[in-house]
Assembly symmetry: C2
Homo-oligomer: 201 residues x 2
DNA sequence: AGATGAAGTGGAACGCTATTCCGGTACTAT
DNA sequence: ATAGTACCGGAATAGCGTTCCACTTCATCT
């Protein structure tokens, strides 16, 4: 149940884990989750042995990359609300979250593959992101910039569903659907450019 | 767009393709879509060379197995309505369809993997199954055994969504959700044992 | 600072699988 | 029956995943 005391890694090892994660994220995005292990190790500038030392099974790497993405998303919440007003912060964060889900199609597919290694991920997901979105939502709602009758869990789930790949349609389709949902979340008249259907990049 | 004239295969070749398809279906179900090619060839009683002759890429085999399953589902429609009354035929067919989707988790995952080889499948799916379910639905609705305000496409999609694996839950979960949907489809009082939540096998 | 042992590293080696290739086999048309 | 050819099987090749261990680097103790 509790966390093991993981006797902090040696400095170089920690650096390598970081490079590996970075490399894996990039390679997964380019060549898919089934990319050769060597490709990842090379990009990270380490030997394959090192990769397997830190991530014995491929699912360990995949899980780590996903968790890393989740953490980054969670951290973005407070950062955004510090620099923008509540309504804007909320919509910006939701788009950030969408980008995270939409970019990682291969990862999401792996996640749904039935491998028990990923069983705990959904819980981690909610535990980490729920409070973040909850705070954002509450701040926006109390300022009248968002409806108050929807909870963070439902919203997180709904967007995740909408980001599911639809055969025959591309990412743009998913982004449009999410944008629509977000528009529905914000009372008319409060909408700003951030929430629209226009695409950047 | 049109079918190639495939200069009908030699008799033994056709037999082999059949065995291969049968074997692949079984192996995919047991060991997943990434099962060794040799396992499939052995079970089919042919050499690997023969497998690759007929299905050069793995996606060709996967596609063939899925199409085969779709065809079987489509053919089951008329058969069921010939032997049962409309309402029963409808629910039996929907459960048959659910079983097809739920059993082929690996296949569905592959299908959503983004491989362009599968791009045409969704269309084939609808083209083949839409009319079948449409007929079933219409017959049941006109006899008062089903609501009349839902179309075959929506229903096909909805069930497909519900059959998507949910991490942390098993097949039973999906079957329950679908059963629920089917119950909702049939007016109270018309329900028969076929549509309930009880499981056979 | 220098020494010491534990932690961590890299890549060769091994086993397994995909995919190709072609001599041999068996079906079909004449 | 015979020739011609479509098709078959499985050995051979290529490449990837994973393991293993001699070597290197870091952290700690004196």
């Amino acid at each position: 149940m509790s966390e093991r005391a993981p006797r902090r890694l040696r400095a170089d090892a920690r650096r390598n884990v970081g490079s590996l994660l970075e490399a894996a994220k990039s390679v997964f995005a380019t060549s898919g989750v089934d990319a050769p292990a060597k490709e990842i190790a090379d990009l990270a500038g380490v030997g394959v042995g090192t990769l397997y030392r830190h991530f014995p099974r491929r699912s360990d790497l995949v899980k780590a990359v996903i968790e890393h993405g989740i953490d980054a998303c969670a951290d973005a919440g407070p950062a955004l609300s510090a620099e923008h007003e509540p309504g804007t912060a909320l919509t910006m964060w939701l788009h950030r979250y969408t980008e995270f889900l939409a970019t990682k199609r291969g990862l999401a597919t792996a996640l749904h593959s039935g491998d028990p290694a990923f069983d705990e991920l959904p819980a981690y997901f909610m535990r980490r992101l729920g409070p973040t979105l909850g705070a954002l939502l509450e701040a926006a709602a109390s300022g009248g910039a968002a409806r108050a009758d929807i909870g963070p869990k439902d919203l997180l789930h709904a967007i995740a569903q909408l980001c599911q790949p639809v055969p025959g349609e591309g990412l743009a389709y998913n982004r449009r659907m999410v944008a629509l949902l977000i528009d529905g979340l914000t009372p008319a008249g409060t909408r700003d450019a951030e929430s629209g259907l226009s695409e950047g990049t």
